[in-house]
């Protein structure tokens, strides 16, 4: 690891100033569970590391009056996963945060870091996309909002300028009779990287058919992959065998995976179909349990 300066600003403005002053050589620090590994392995270097955890606006999970959520970018995953309101409204997001690493890792790791590290296998990202989450980005010129699926542009790259930072995620209030789920496929039960991940959110109509569906897959393309075709095959239908079969097919068709040490392309494609079905069944059962 090459030496760097460590800064811990206490306001968003000070953090942006530090990023600007570094001329693009600074790195933001959330939990550091990706960043420190990369710096140690000398995958990249940083002249300055700007800690985001001392900025009060970046911490905490807040429900607004309208039932929507604001999750501070630097909130540790263990806090996200344990939040009762979020777990009730968006269980898929909570369970994805709860899958990242171990207890120790989750006590440090953040959703912003998970997204901005830009790994195609990041667990929380498909769940956030399925929830329709928006990333709030601050920069020298103020704030802008990006759909989560627009934040990453490829493995290791994001749409953020060097002097921008993610400050929060905003999640809408779920419609009545909605449920969500995130499942991942790993050889080990824990402490593993998804070979495939699938986040899904479903809303049921009064007649038990599906009124709305959002699905996204992880680890099967250079970035987390929204699968709009899922809505196409599910909306207006019950989640019966035929619908599940169709969902399996659109999930597989959407995949553009690589073969690497973590899994073959064929295995990933097969897994995407399986997880899509299983996640849909889980999400639907959660939706049905809603009043």
């Amino acid at each position: 690891m090459t030496p760097f300066r460590y800064l811990a600003p206490t306001s968003i403005g000070a953090a942006i100033d530090a990023l600007k002053a570094s001329g693009g050589t600074a790195k933001l620090l959330g939990g550091g569970t990706d960043l420190l590994m990369a710096l140690r392995a000398r995958r990249y270097a940083a002249s300055v590391v700007v800690d985001t955890k001392r900025i009060p606006e970046l911490s905490g999970v807040n429900v607004r009056a309208d039932g929507s959520f604001r999750i501070g970018a630097a909130t540790p995953c263990s806090v996200v996963a344990a939040d009762p309101a979020l777990s009730a409204a968006w269980p898929g997001v909570a369970e994805s945060a709860n899958l990242i690493g171990s207890v120790q890792v989750r006590n440090r790791a953040t959703l912003a870091g998970n997204l901005c590290n830009a790994s195609p296998a990041a667990d929380s990202v498909p769940a956030l996309i399925a929830a329709g989450a928006v990333a709030v980005v601050a920069g020298p010129g103020g704030e802008r909002r990006l759909a989560v699926e627009q934040v990453t542009t490829g493995p290791g790259t994001t749409a953020l300028a060097p002097d921008e930072m993610l400050v929060a995620f905003e999640l809408p209030a779920p419609a009545p009779r909605s449920g969500s789920a995130y499942l991942r496929l790993t050889p080990r039960t824990e402490m593993d990287i998804a070979i495939v991940g699938c986040g899904i959110a479903l809303t049921l109509a009064a007649d038990g058919t599906i009124a709305a569906a959002r699905m996204a897959l992880g680890a099967v393309a250079p970035t987390a992959l929204p699968v709009p075709e899922a809505a196409g095959v599910l909306v207006g239908r019950r989640l019966d065998d035929a619908a599940l079969k169709a969902l399996d097919a659109v999930a597989r068709a959407a995949c553009r995976p690589i073969t690497d040490k973590r899994g073959t392309s064929a295995y990933r494609i097969r897994g995407a179909g399986v997880l899509a079905r299983r996640a849909a069944i889980l999400a639907a059962s959660r939706a049905e349990a809603q009043p």
């Binding site: 030496p3 050889p187 039960t189 824990e190 295995y267 097969r270």
Partner: protein
């Protein structure tokens, strides 16, 4: 926990005192190799080859040496250019030339990660920078990773002085096949002619790493008078001393080797990678040097065990009598000869009484890190193919798989294919205990299958020592010369306590350094509790003799008239005199007045190790859509002779099974076409995590080994032998398909299922 058999009459042996090393380990106070610090210490780093196979044209360290803070650079020039010389080591043998060349490449690099130079600097940061400033010019050579590709004619040859041993006439050309071994008994052609049923298969396994938590680490100090101190974590301080002396051309008496707490070894620390390098750096720098491997270095350059190909053929009569067996093993040795192929061959069938056997083995080098011992080296490789084939044979015969094993089981006097005749073994008792275990008849859930497998490990003795010292207050300090890998401090202290008649907590065991206790072979082969225990009994008995003499002196009677009972001297009979028992503490308090300190050492070459047999029952559940395998229940039955500290014995059994489950399901080395390892870390080299494992039930059968203290047998290695075939057999039962290639990872299970049209 379950005991079957069992003995009584002992007060300490067989109980479960609190482990003596536990608190320090869980509170972070234990001093491991990387924790050692000496004044003015430098930090070392090793420069490693980026090529799997290349000629070294030039090494130029001048830019590194010019960097502020760099104090020394060493290359192969700093080590003795040794001739080939094979010596016994642990479970097998080793060659000093290979050891030296593996430690620091000379002329050629043979695997990615092969050390080419090392640097010492005032900080780790500077040492790391200096690595980039050591200029090495290579001429890349074609490489070979796969074992059968390495055996093929036309393969890139690693060593042009390597001619296959064990074939006549001696080959004219060098090759990557270092050795061919054969074990034969009876006549296999005639044997198979007698067979009504034949089962056969081809099996492959991948190299797997020992996976110890603590990376290799040491501190070495070359003192101004030419004497040296080494503090390191290894499986033998005497081994470190001897190997370092040899590689650097030093006298053994000039090195003091101090063992640090050991954070796991599993055989992987029965050799040196760092100590001679650190000492060579210290010799140049005139200051102590610390070397600590990163996890990545551990994976790239310290020993896994071999990957393998096995061809297995078994023939039986209709009634289940096995009449012939023919096995071929090809084992990867890594970059230098020395795979455990002979041990694979010996252990594969040692559980059975088979009249006609032919076992052939090949030791094959390729551009991978040199293999090192791993828990029962070679035996799990032997058992995967044979015990999978045994399962197929049982299916073809329509016979219960445990009954097949019982029917053919080795017993008193059975002659093994490698010539040794079994004595005082407990294999049949172990099979029967497995058959009678409720697990064997428990109902299975959907998508679940049950498999069984047996395994064997020799266990060894060897040159050994121990010291017992009585303290002034009546406690005892005992010294083991062997680093404690699995709880030997507890069991050795208990053995001494038993003989002395003291409670376990009045005896403290330390692992001594090479200056504090006589020589001992290293920790390996499940030998320590047996061998050092034998010496501990010897030393404690000598101490008891002294205690009796001191009591006799205090009482003014003949030493022959004193007996030792429950930790006190007592008169041998009414004629000896009417003395009250004289407890050890009272004799110790008066030691100064009766002749001085009381203590003894005992050294011998220990023989008569009792073989270990295990029979495992495994239930596996297969997710037919994803190919994921979950081990839902596991029972490991083992003949342990006598469990000195049962909790540690259970721990050994459970640990062996846990490693076997990793080997079976997910652990593997992944190489790209560039010959570079792609998964040098615990994220992608998947050892099981706690939630991957069921509670593993250890069933201890106690068939005493009459040549060991309290009847004990080594227990540490046997439990890793049966798991891979037990799991393969369970998967076979669950999905109707046999997996013949480890690891049985989800993609392979899916492939097997799809092959079935699933």
């Amino acid at each position: 926990m379950t005991f079957l058999g069992g003995q009584t009459g002992q007060r300490v042996v067989g109980t479960r005192p609190i482990r003596p090393d536990g608190v320090d380990k869980v509170t972070g106070r234990a001093i491991y190799g990387a924790d050692a610090r000496l004044p003015n210490m430098l930090e070392g780093r090793i420069k490693r080859s980026p090529h799997p196979h290349a000629r070294i044209l030039r090494i130029d360290a001048s830019r590194a040496l010019a960097l502020e803070g760099v104090k020394a650079v060493v290359t192969s020039d700093d080590f003795v250019d040794l001739p080939a010389q094979e010596v016994a080591a642990g479970d097998g043998s080793m060659d000093f030339r290979s050891l030296s060349l593996n430690l620091m490449a000379r002329g050629k690099v043979l695997y990615e990660g092969h050390p080419v130079a090392a640097v010492a600097a005032t900080t780790g940061q500077i040492a790391e920078e200096a690595l980039d400033l050591i200029d090495v010019e290579y001429e890349a050579l074609p490489h070979v990773i796969d074992i059968e590709a390495a055996m093929a004619s036309g393969a890139p040859v690693l060593h042009d002085d390597l001619f296959t041993a064990g074939v006549t006439p001696r080959p004219e050309k060098p090759s990557n096949v270092a050795k061919r071994i054969v074990f034969a008994q009876g006549d296999v052609v005639a044997g198979f002619a007698e067979a009504d049923v034949v089962a056969e298969g081809r099996y492959t396994t991948e190299p797997v790493h020992q996976g110890y938590i603590e990376p290799h680490a040491c501190v070495a100090s070359w003192n101004a008078d030419g004497q040296s101190l080494i503090i390191s974590s290894s499986q033998g301080a005497f081994m470190v001393r001897a190997y370092t002396a040899k590689l650097l051309g030093l006298e053994i008496a000039d090195i003091r080797s101090v063992p640090a707490e050991l954070g796991g070894g599993f055989g992987g620390k029965t050799t040196v990678y760092l100590e001679p390098v650190a000492l060579a750096l210290s010799r140049r720098a005139g200051r102590p040097v610390r070397l600590v491997m990163s996890r990545e270095e551990v994976f790239r350059a310290s020993g896994p065990t071999s990957g393998s190909v096995a061809e297995v053929k078994l023939g039986a009569r209709r009634d289940g009598t096995i009449v012939a067996a023919e096995l071929v093993f090809k084992l990867q040795a890594g970059a230098f000869p020395g795979s455990p192929v002979a041990l694979s061959g010996m252990c594969a069938l040692a559980m059975y009484d088979i009249p006609n056997v032919l076992i052939t083995g090949y030791d094959v080098v390729s551009n991978r890190p040199k293999v090192a011992a791993y828990r029962a080296p070679g035996a799990p490789i032997g058992s995967f193919g044979t015990e999978s084939t045994m399962d197929e044979l049982a299916r073809k015969l329509g016979m219960d798989p445990l009954e097949l094993r019982e029917k053919n089981g080795a017993r008193e006097g059975t002659r093994t294919a490698y010539g040794v005749v079994h004595r005082d073994i407990g294999f049949l008792e172990t099979v029967r205990a497995a058959k009678e275990h409720p697990h064997y008849r428990a109902p299975l859930g959907p998508n679940q299958g049950r498999g069984v497998a047996a395994g064997f490990w020799f266990n060894i003795g060897g040159e050994s020592s121990a010291a017992v010292n009585i303290n002034e207050d009546g406690t005892a300090s005992v010294i083991s010369p062997n680093p404690d890998v699995g709880g030997s401090r507890a069991s050795l202290g208990m053995i001494a306590a038993e003989v002395l008649g003291l409670p376990a907590e009045k005896v403290r065991t330390v692992v001594g350094d090479t200056a504090s206790v006589p020589y001992s072979d290293m920790t390996g082969g499940s030998r320590v509790t047996f061998s050092i225990g034998t010496c501990m009994v010897g030393a404690a008995e000598k101490v008891v003799e002294q205690l009796k003499q001191r009591a006799a002196m205090l009482w003014g009677i003949s030493p022959d008239a004193v007996e030792w009972k429950d930790g006190a001297a007592v008169p041998a009979g009414p004629n000896a005199g009417g003395f009250e028992p004289l407890p050890l503490a009272e004799i110790a308090a008066k030691a100064g007045a009766t002749g001085g300190p009381i203590g003894a050492t005992y050294s011998t070459k220990v023989q008569g190790a009792g073989a270990g047999f295990g029979v495992h029952i495994c239930d596996a559940e297969v997710d037919r859509e994803t190919g994921q395998v979950r081990i839902v229940r596991y029972t490991a039955v083992q003949d342990v002779g006598r469990a000195i500290h049962p909790s540690y014995v259970e721990g050994q059994i459970q640990g062996g099974v846990a490693q076997g489950i990793g080997w079976a399901l997910n652990e593997e080395y992944i190489y790209g076409p560039d010959g570079k390892l792609q998964n040098p870390g615990f994220l992608d080299y998947r050892v099981p995590v706690a939630s991957d494992l069921p509670m593993i039930e250890a069933v201890m059968v106690e068939v005493p080994n009459p040549r060991a203290p309290f009847g004990l047998r080594g227990v540490g290695e046997t439990p890793i032998v049966p798991p891979t075939p037990a799991i393969a057999n369970a998967i076979r039962a669950a999905i109707g398909k046999r997996l013949c290639s480890l690891p049985m990872s989800p993609p392979k299970v899916v492939e097997a299922l799809d092959g079935a049209g699933g």
